[in-house]
Symmetry: C2
Subunit: 251 residues, 2 copies
Amino acid sequence: MFAEIITVGDELLTGNTVDSNSAFIAQKLTERGFWVRRITTVGDDIEEIKSAVKEALSREPEVLIIAGGLGPTHDDVTMAAVAQALNVGLELREEVIEKIRVFYRGLYEEGVVDDPNLNEARIKMAYLPKGAEVLDNSVGAAPGAYFKYNSTEVFVLPGMPREMRTMLENEVLPRLGKRKFIQEKLLAEITDESKLAPLLNEVLGRFNVKIHSSPKGFGKYIGIIIFGESEEEIKRAKKFMEKRGLRFENV
Amino acid sequence: MFAEIITVGDELLTGNTVDSNSAFIAQKLTERGFWVRRITTVGDDIEEIKSAVKEALSREPEVLIIAGGLGPTHDDVTMAAVAQALNVGLELREEVIEKIRVFYRGLYEEGVVDDPNLNEARIKMAYLPKGAEVLDNSVGAAPGAYFKYNSTEVFVLPGMPREMRTMLENEVLPRLGKRKFIQEKLLAEITDESKLAPLLNEVLGRFNVKIHSSPKGFGKYIGIIIFGESEEEIKRAKKFMEKRGLRFENV
């Protein structure tokens, strides 16, 4: 059961913004027991987004989370690109328009925008891919979208961290059901790095676990994350490594 | 002239580490006049890295920078994966071995490692794809690699930020020659977002410039980066937009 993440935004490709969104999403999915296999970042360009989405779907992840490019500005084109990738049109969601109207009325009253009224750009946010479920954005204007494509659950979220995080917690994770994997973080002592590889490979063969090592470096210890379907299986794998002389410190 | 970036590391896919490397590389390439079109992040897995490298090369970027997975630990497999993606073998670089020996001697004297001697894992870092040029790592053990693949200049760098940044400055940028594009950052005042799109599209048609807008939001201003081959062309594009009623503030 693996997942993929696509983040969208020119500001990520110019390096003006560090992509903390993908790390946040990856962390939540990992805690949830998903194996994040790839993160792709593209700009606010319909063709680029479309290709990235098609390529991700072709790898058939269980979950695909797309974040960024849902706003009112001219280059927020993610929903249009996703609709094209799925060969479906965009459809106006009447139920969303009123929320957008209220949101801008609020911004106007706070003096953030000069014009409280709906305009083409603001109404654009009410267009979702045909058949998609609306994901409520309780802290912003643009709603998200959720749909199932073959075996993949696809979630489209805004890129503003506050909105993305709120919606991930409230709209995405509840739809993913309860976690299936358990993870344990450990520090393994290294005296000879070259002895570690064969041991870890043997563990992967003997036990029903996956191992992420992180972070890497030149120290005496290497961080290891063991994923397993049960506490017991992780314990067994850990004991096996200890029997082979690997020393752990819990993190 | 566009560029792509691939970052490698399980810690990026678990969200334990925020990928600041790709933002740093993207910023340097953008300043240099390269259009970063895609950033891909994969784990320390030969097959995943190999696929990402092959896919990037198939899009024929002018520059491809790959960062991460060059260390001594079992899961540092980037050089092996790159070599496979190119269908070339790895070859031991005698000239690198002595540098690695000296580096670990130093770590041993600082008490960072227990064993000053070379071992299989440390020697692994001296293996580079056949035909690649060695990129000197003045602050770490693992050298980088540089080679030309069809029309693409490929650079493979370590993932530790201090090493990656030093090598990007000292080994990569000098090989890219002098910058070809100029960029100007501006803040454009927005009263009606829907008026901005047609104007920017007209500018892209009339002038030899590219426009990144960043960051996005609900404020009265939107950040815009204009790229052009000359100051003059950027000035002309800016004047044109001002004539059409767009107000700018320099950043």
